[in-house]
């Protein structure tokens, strides 16, 4: 039996960029098994949980990075160390690293950057050489560029206004890169679609959808794929390039 429900304790909760917070939570993390999975957090006064992607985890802690963009996440931003959160752990399929080849490209856009971190660590541990591209709108939104560099991997940043890194979109960086074997990406849907069209390589794309339950029961986040109907929360959020119907 899976025990999805875990009462996590906030260890730290700090602002790392505009409207962007990094929260470290402690508790049992055995249900988190694959990079690209998410956790679903219950908040006092809100009926539905907040699905947030896992940025990193070890045996006793999980790190998430979230944007305060609505009433729920704004409440999360006010939580102090010691606060407890009823959380469903290890949801979604996550990224399959067996298909990556030796030099996969990792592309994160905005709130889609965090899951790339655990994925990069996993790929490195498998002896692969990932290259990462992080896309943001402007300098004040940039986060985790140094953390990726600290993993010892080639890291590119693009900003729409050119305030940091390459001016333009992540696809402008992709256009200059060669030799990558596969791609993994997470970010806003227009970015996913642009990447899908910008490269011949095969890859995996992590999607967002408004969810009810987050664990496959309500059919609130269904999408059509070439492999049949899928639930973004349970059969996804990661879909293979070949199955996507835009």
């Amino acid at each position: 039996m899976r025990e999805l429900k875990e009462l996590l304790t906030v260890v730290s909760n700090e602002k790392i960029a505009v409207n962007t917070y990094k929260m470290v939570l402690s508790g049992c993390t055995k249900e988190i098994t694959v990079p690209g999975q998410f956790i679903n957090i219950a908040l006092d006064g809100f009926y539905l949980r907040r699905p947030i992607s896992v940025c990193d985890w070890d045996e006793n802690t999980v790190t998430i990075i979230y944007k305060a963009v609505g009433n729920g996440t704004e409440l999360m931003a006010t939580l102090k160390a010691g606060a407890q959160l009823d959380t469903l752990m290890g949801l979604g399929n996550g990224f399959d690293t067996s298909k990556s080849g030796n030099a996969p490209l990792l592309i994160g856009g905005g709130a889609g950057v965090p899951p790339m971190y655990a994925l990069a660590k996993k790929l490195i541990s498998e002896g692969k050489k990932p290259v990462v591209i992080l896309g943001f709108n402007t300098e004040s939104e940039v986060f985790f560029a140094e953390e990726f560099k600290a993993l010892g991997i080639e890291t590119y940043v693009s900003t729409a206004d050119g305030s940091v890194g390459t001016k333009g979109f992540v696809t402008d960086v992709i256009a200059k890169l060669e030799g990558y074997t596969y791609f993994y990406t997470c970010g806003p849907e227009p970015m996913l679609k642009a990447i899908y069209n910008a490269t011949e390589a095969s890859g995996q794309l992590s999607f967002e959808e408004r969810m009810g339950c987050g664990f496959g029961a309500c059919m609130g986040c269904s999408c059509k794929t070439k492999y049949g109907n899928k639930r973004i929360c349970k059969d996804g959020p990661v879909l293979e390039k070949e199955e996507i119907i835009w």
């Binding site: 899976r2 429900k5 219950a42 009926y47 959808e209 609130g220 986040c221 269904s222």
Partner: protein
């Protein structure tokens, strides 16, 4: 030692707690989380004659103490339910389940119900004439006593198992529809389905739900559901499965006092996948707290 057993038509349930249709899939995925044989029964995902993808997304909107869904009866169709979903359920659930059937015409209800009736695992047919999320179907049959009675008669003519008609709250007088179903031969009634609702996104200034409106459920609607069960109980003799915002053992008892023989848990399953398990486990203790020895004795006790 308290007894949580209830008799629902021909079925003896270990307890009155049943996950509501559309919040529990076809059950087997929850068997990864706990032994689903502790449930009284399971009301399976709403099924139609043909496979349906359902409505465009977003299908979900959050509300104070509840949520709106506009799934639109996504399901693989009755034939796939019988050939693929029921066998998977049989591997982890040994009790009779409830088939929840929707349609777009009398003929479709008849076809679907007669197929479900023949499935050994199905103990009750729950005929959904109340889905607010599909056009020209579902709810339109449940908003007039004549149409609801027509469906009831047609389904009863081709089935052998107890037929429960699932009613919508989106009507002026639910009692007249309940009575029409009873007179047409219904063996029981399920109420209530979701209430038609909507939210508007202040940033886009457009409806949150792609289909604009959807079914509002969750603890916010409990008092409305309870009131309707209470009213219908006074007007009919057939058993009622009460539902609508039930989220605790206390709510189950309240619903039974209003007149429900069994109780379905809906939206609460979506915020807590262990909701039914927790309710079933806490029920005996809550019964003792209120000096209830036999749950069956309290049905309609508030009247």
């Amino acid at each position: 030692m308290v007894s949580t057993k209830v008799k629902l038509c021909s079925l003896e349930l270990d307890n009155p707690v049943i996950p509501a249709s559309g919040t529990f899939g076809f059950g087997y995925e929850f068997a990864e989380l706990y032994d689903i044989n502790i449930l009284g029964s399971i009301s399976l995902k709403g099924t139609t004659a043909q496979p349906r993808f359902g409505n465009p997304t977003p299908r979900i909107a959050e509300c104070p103490a509840g949520m709106i869904n506009s799934v639109g009866l996504q399901n693989p169709g009755i034939d796939a339910v019988i050939s693929q979903e029921l066998p998977k359920l049989a591997e982890c659930f040994s009790k009779p389940a409830i088939a929840n059937i929707s349609g777009f015409s009398v003929e479709e209800y008849v076809e679907c119900c007669s197929k479900a009736d023949k499935a050994e695992q199905i103990g009750i047919l729950e005929v959904n004439v109340s889905c607010p999320n599909v056009h020209n179907g579902g709810m339109s049959f449940g908003t007039s006593p004549e149409a609801a009675a027509e469906i009831t008669r047609a389904v009863k003519a081709v089935t052998t198992k107890p037929v429960f008609i699932k009613l919508t709250p989106n009507v002026t007088d639910i009692v007249s529809i309940a009575k029409a179903c009873e007179e047409a031969g219904a063996d029981g009634l399920s109420l209530i389905n979701t209430m038609l609702g909507m939210r508007i996104n202040l940033k886009t200034k457009k409806p949150v739900i792609a289909n604009k409106m959807g079914g509002f459920s969750g603890s916010a609607i409990f008092p409305v559901a309870l009131r309707m069960v209470y009213q219908v109980y006074e007007a009919v003799k057939i058993p009622i499965i009460g539902m609508g915002g039930v989220s605790s053992a206390q709510d189950v008892i309240e619903m039974m006092l209003a007149g429900a023989t069994a109780v379905q848990i809906g939206a609460q399953n979506l915020v807590d996948p262990y909701a039914c398990k927790n309710i079933i486990e806490s029920l005996p203790g809550v019964m003792q707290e209120y000096s209830i020895n036999n749950l069956e004795d309290i049905i309609g006790g508030a009247h």
